[in-house]
């Protein structure tokens, strides 16, 4: 069987997710036994338009990104959103809280009009996405599992349970008990609760679960002393674009 051909592409992002792939130090060479990486700009000069699986990193932030992404979708059999920027617009979506003009003025002052920008979108708002690899950054082991599943011709696991599940399985002390707030109860897991395991809050970088009980989460945050503004911040770190969150913010 011919090795599947894999390509990586990046849009607006920090390229940390691609770095996580390179960070698979112990497994990288074995992965290369199973697949051909044909495009990976961050790490190689070779390029090709002939690939089976495309991993897309980054958010779409300007009109000129769209045809490029559409072209990739056309070429690829399987298209995977790699990391929070691509799956849920991630930290980039923070900019959507202001108009593009305001953003340009704040950062570039009078030079602002030299740039094109529009409200940030995750890539599934532009093309169809087959699978999601969530996280900011992605978990490199989850990437490996995804590659294995694809090689076996089966659907990769897409998480539907909360971060708390993995957090408790690791036997972490709840960070609420350490006096911090945490979005773990309503956030998509798959990260092995790495942030709470290191004593810090879950910031929902994998997005909020589709059937999350947002009103109750708000109550929990309040009960732990969070102000309205603080709650708003918690809900918008990585999920400013989340439909559920935006609905919550709509005045009743």
């Amino acid at each position: 069987m011919a090795k599947p051909r894999i390509a990586f592409f990046d849009f607006a992002c920090c390229e940390g997710c691609q770095l996580q792939v390179i960070n698979l130090e112990a497994e990288l060479l074995d992965v290369l036994d199973h697949v051909d990486i044909v495009t990976f700009r961050e790490a190689m000069s070779e390029k090709s338009d002939d690939y089976d699986i495309a991993f897309i990193e980054g958010s779409i932030t300007r009109a000129s990104d769209i045809p490029r992404l559409e072209k990739i979708r056309e070429n690829a059999t399987v298209l995977i959103a790699l990391g929070a920027c691509a799956t849920i617009a991630g930290v980039n979506a923070l900019k959507n809280r202001r108009t593009p003009q305001e953003n340009l003025r704040i950062v570039y002052g009078d030079d602002g009009d030299k740039f094109e920008t529009f409200p940030v979108r995750p890539i599934d708002q532009v093309v169809e996405v087959d699978y999601y690899l969530h996280g900011c950054p992605i978990d490199k082991n989850e990437f490996l599992e995804m590659v294995k599943a694809l090689l076996m011709g089966t659907a990769p696991k897409q998480w539907t349970s909360a971060v708390c599940v993995e957090c408790k399985l690791r036997e972490n002390e709840c960070v609420y008990d350490l006096g911090r707030l945490c979005m773990g109860p309503i956030s998509r897991g798959g990260c092995d609760a790495i942030c709470p395991a290191y004593g810090n809050s879950c910031e929902a970088c994998r997005g909020i679960l589709p059937d999350a009980n947002i009103p109750s989460m708000v109550e929990v945050l309040k009960a732990h002393g969070a102000s309205e503004a603080e709650i708003e911040r918690r809900f918008t770190n990585f999920t400013a674009i989340d439909k559920l969150v935006q609905e919550m913010e709509q005045p009743q």
Binding site: L19, L32, M44, T61, L104, I106, V107, G199
Partner: protein, 431 residues
């Protein structure tokens, strides 16, 4: 001879660098009409995102500016925020942060040397063919990289977007046993560093000299990475809060002082600048590496930035071991960070692998960020890269076009530019 030459070079989406950039060179009848490094990376508006957020969020948001320098951004953010609220972290916190930063230097330099730069010298397109032809070399690179990543995992949870580093200290502290384990693995890896030096000794670094100004941090205490004053090889020393004097001259500031400095031309930050400026404070091991690779200060060859990175890799490994020894000897005390907001302004100036990184925050009494400015090293280097490119084109103009293109690419890559970082690139507007 060159006055009859027409030359057109366009390298779109330069590879093996962080972020998207194009090289454009146009020569008509020997006259260089265009010679630039175009930045096509989508702007990301981090400063705008940060305004209105809480100061404690800054490290976790700004590290997302760049995955490769994410510890660097975290550190700059921590330092800016703590300076603004007038908080001094404990010695233990500082030591652990320095260890993280060292690990990032090792990881970033190794990545650049083996994965991004070496393929040029070995005449291949990437590390992937090397995995076939030079399996041992690739494995060694991966081992060294893993070492750095493991260090970050032990101390901060992970390298890309570290977790436990927060304003005030750490949300979780490593145990002495973990630090001891880490120390042992690092020491065991020293032969890999020696091999790396031996490998780079065999590679031929292009000979190209152009005098420029080197800017880095400088400290009386140590080889300045985590903190220090801003120092120029032309002898100027400035406190971090006056960083705009070095960063903003070209476009925004038209003061007399500025014009004087413009007379010096462009400047370089990064490994070469640091090694040039602070050579004496390197570890003995690092000095030996310099010796072995024939590095002499001052060095005006930008291609030698790769060698400077290798020297620093050794320094960071040596110093990391020293820090770990110190932490193991003193033991780890549980501290729960609890920084309180206070109105103020703070500049965090930190050396990251590619040069000085500045974060400048203004915080109100509630701890809300009201003004944010981040200046990244690659933004500072851009003009210098272009100045080098212009001179290099003239030197190599007689070579075949693909050779010229390759040399230009190698030059740009030698700077290890990190274009994703370029949130503020337009301070040096030239597109």
């Amino acid at each position: 001879m060159s006055d009859t030459i027409d030359l057109n070079i366009r390298i779109d989406h330069l590879t093996r660098v962080e972020g998207h950039g194009n090289i454009v060179v146009d020569m008509e009848a020997g006259e260089l009409t265009q010679c630039k490094l175009e930045i096509v990376e989508a702007p990301r508006f981090f400063e705008a995102m940060l305004e209105g957020r809480l100061f404690t969020e800054a490290p976790h948001i700004t590290c997302r500016i760049c995955g490769i320098c994410s510890v660097g951004h975290t550190t700059a953010a921590l330092r800016a925020a703590e300076t603004a609220i007038g908080f001094s972290p404990s010695r233990q916190t500082v030591q652990l942060r320095k260890a993280m930063l060292h690990a990032e230097f090792i990881q970033s330099h190794i990545l650049h040397l083996y994965f991004l730069a070496a393929p040029d010298f070995l005449g291949v397109g990437s590390v992937i063919p090397l995995a076939e032809t030079h399996k041992d070399v690739v494995k060694r690179a991966l081992r060294l990289k893993k070492l750095a990543n493991d260090a970050c995992a032990v101390i901060g949870g992970r390298h890309v977007h570290p977790i436990s580093l927060v304003v005030g200290g750490f949300t979780k502290l490593p145990t002495v046993e973990e630090l001891q384990g880490l120390r042992d693995t690092i020491v065991a890896a020293l032969p890999d560093v020696v091999e790396t030096v031996a490998l780079f000794k065999t590679l031929e670094i292009p000979h190209f000299l152009r005098k420029t100004e080197y800017i880095s941090l400088k400290s009386d205490e140590e080889y300045a990475l985590y903190e220090g004053d801003i120092y120029s090889s032309y002898g100027v020393m400035l406190p971090p809060r006056r960083y705009r004097h070095v960063t903003n001259e070209h476009v925004l500031d038209h003061s007399t002082a500025k014009r004087t400095r413009t007379a010096f031309g462009t400047f370089m930050v990064g490994a070469l600048a640091r090694v040039n400026n602070n050579f004496d404070q390197l570890s003995e091991g690092a000095k030996a590496v310099a010796d072995e690779l024939g590095f002499k200060t001052p060095c005006f060859n930008p291609f030698m930035n790769n060698v400077a990175q290798l020297i620093e890799t050794r320094h960071c490994i040596d110093d990391l071991v020293a820090i770990l020894d110190d932490l193991i000897a003193t033991g780890i005390v549980d501290e729960i960070p609890d920084p309180q907001p206070k109105a103020g302004r703070g500049v965090g100036a930190v050396e990251v692998p590619r040069g000085i990184l500045y974060h400048d925050y203004e915080i109100d009494a509630e701890g809300i960020l009201t003004q944010v400015n981040c200046i990244i090293p690659t933004g500072q280097n851009l003009s210098n890269i272009e100045a080098d490119m212009r001179e290099l084109v003239h030197e190599v103009i007689d070579e075949p076009k693909d050779q010229i293109a390759l040399k230009l690419e190698m030059l740009v890559r030698a700077y290890d530019p990190c274009i994703s970082c370029s949130t503020h690139i337009l301070d040096v507007e030239f597109v």
